[in-house]
Subunit: 223 residues, 2 copies
């Protein structure tokens, strides 16, 4: 019996919060198929390459983000037979959460609002993959400390709150939020320094603690 062999790619859903919007890193395709559509950065894996290694390599090569501080986790694998019209490709998607970084040097690579992207023609099944990545990120803010992955190394409680508000598209009470996150075990570590970059009274700066879970979780307000 002979075993079918397939092309295997890695696609990246890299999210960040910038200009009051949840944004994803995208390419603009300049040739068929799906010319003119947006697509996720990605590429084929090498024969001797582990999946997370391929994801990190493509993060540098195709997303322009060589920074190792970016949180990267496997999202899901997409493999229905005609998702690429040229050949059968099984794609392993990774989800990356990044702080607001300087834009890439390449003109082809753009941060774009996920709401905009959702209303535009996407290449392949990349809209579906993006949706899955956004929903994963939204869900993970509830019960993990991953929101801090969207923040710079030192951040204020208000900046962290704005991450939640923008990713969830909701308003959160600043005082209750403050109590919740500062009270959570090992979520935030005070640096002792303060900043006035948000205006008003100087705010404590925090670093990310080593807690991964947020217990009890912070549930999204439901309409």
């Amino acid at each position: 019996m002979t075993v079918p062999r397939l092309a295997v790619s890695v696609d990246l859903v890299v999210l960040t919060v910038r200009e009051q919007r949840l944004c994803a890193l995208t390419w603009r395709r300049d040739r068929p198929p799906y010319e003119g559509c947006w697509s996720l950065p990605g590429g084929f894996i090498q024969l001797d390459e582990d999946l997370p290694v391929a994801a990190a390599r493509l993060m540098a090569e195709r997303a322009g983000l060589a920074d190792v501080r970016i949180h990267l986790e496997q999202l899901a694998t997409y493999g229905y037979p005609d998702r690429d019209p040229r050949q059968r490709v099984v794609s392993v998607a990774y989800l990356g959460l990044a702080p607001d970084l300087p834009a890439s040097s390449r003109a082809q690579v753009l941060w774009r609002s996920v709401d905009e992207l959702d209303n535009e023609r996407a290449a392949f099944d990349h809209r579906r993959i993006l949706r899955d990545g956004v929903e994963r990120a939204r869900a993970k803010l509830e019960y993990t400390s991953l929101a801090a992955a969207f923040c710079p190394p030192e951040f204020t409680v208000a900046e962290l709150r704005r991450v939640y508000e923008i990713v969830w598209g909701t308003h959160l009470d600043p005082r209750n939020f403050h109590r919740k996150v500062t009270g959570a075990d090992r979520f935030l570590i005070p640096t002792g320094r303060t900043t006035t970059r948000d205006g008003g009274r100087p705010a404590q700066l925090y670093r990310r603690g080593d807690a991964e879970q947020l217990r009890p979780p912070m549930l999204r307000p439901r309409p």
Copy 2:
């Protein structure tokens, strides 16, 4: 540029609760590599086959479970280069949650306790995959209604509680549990019938409701 092509397989972590233990469906390997070790049921995908279709096919062919009522979801994809010594294989793992079914007709296919399996030599990286599947199942009981996937079509609150207790390895207060699950929106639908199969006072029988989320979640007791 030439695209490397790889074998892609689907491996199944099928869990059930039987004889007071969380069990997984396994094969016993009768030839190298990993002769004598246990392995997860699985196989290669066909060239024109979608991943969920392949998972369902292998569920029937290799696990002996053609039953469509079994909950099936994608778990994760494993692809480090030497996970199979014969050739490079990227494996997409699926997680299945099944009620306590009659044993398979094939002697090679066995339900075995996940704790036992964790202490025995496994083929390939199947111990890691099993651990990931078990952890996913444990986590999902917290914030979804998936525990009912381990139960027969009609079940009592006590049977549902035993699922939680066995999967989590904890004791839960029967009265608080009853209040929580019967109060949860659209988690359980009373059938009107009762049963005495657990002894004692007859218990209401319930069917699974259409709620997928459990809000607020039922958190595992922590030590």
